[in-house]
Symmetry: C2
């Protein structure tokens, strides 16, 4: 990890063994975490160039534009990168009916982890 | 990916080949993304049990409690898990002087990706 990578003004993503960095998208207005996905170099370049979020699907092994089938395109308001340049934060506005999750919910993170009486479970929120 | 994993109330994280899920921490008050890290099953269990964030360091190959050396402990206000249960969202309050990044900054995402005149670079914010 170079000092330039941590402190400098040059974009030099630290891709993992699969050529990916992690990307987290939050709602630009509410701050809610909407989804987490991955980008390869091409997805990152296309996101920067177009202002709309592109990712790399690990399960399908291909580049995809978020919303290409659902219409839930993510318009990027701001992109940030973290200290060691292996994670991207996208602040976005969601097109269409404002759902981001493929289940139709606004956010993929619709279940809260709850612990009560020694057992841990999930509770659907909102 | 089972329907129960996506829709049910049972915590059944989908760990990757290295036994990890991704965890993103946001400031419970401002919504700012503070850091992104990874958890193995033990880190997740300790976080749930203690209400403070534990992670697994890929570079050091060991469990670590955030703030164990810096004092910047993350107190968990809420934990959520995403649709396919391979990512965790922690809403936290930060102890100490409220820095989360090892560089002393509040958030690890202190640089904005900016594109101007055909070149892409990073600009330190705030």
């Amino acid at each position: 990890m170079t000092d330039d990578r941590e402190q400098g003004s040059t974009l030099q993503p630290k891709y993992d063994a699969n050529g990916l960095v992690t990307a987290v998208a939050t709602d630009a207005a509410s701050g809610e975490v909407l989804m987490l996905a991955h980008m390869n170099a091409e997805a990152l370049a296309k996101t920067i160039a177009t202002g709309e979020a592109w990712f790399f699907s690990r399960s399908r092994g291909r580049l995809w534009k978020k919303g290409e089938s659902s219409g839930h395109v993510l318009s990027v308001v701001e992109m940030r990168i973290d200290c060691d340049q292996d994670a991207i934060w996208l602040r976005v506005n969601v097109s269409g009916d404002n759902a981001t999750c493929h289940t139709g919910r606004r956010s993929c993170f619709y279940r809260r982890i709850v612990a009560a009486g020694g057992t841990v479970g999930l509770r659907t929120e909102g």
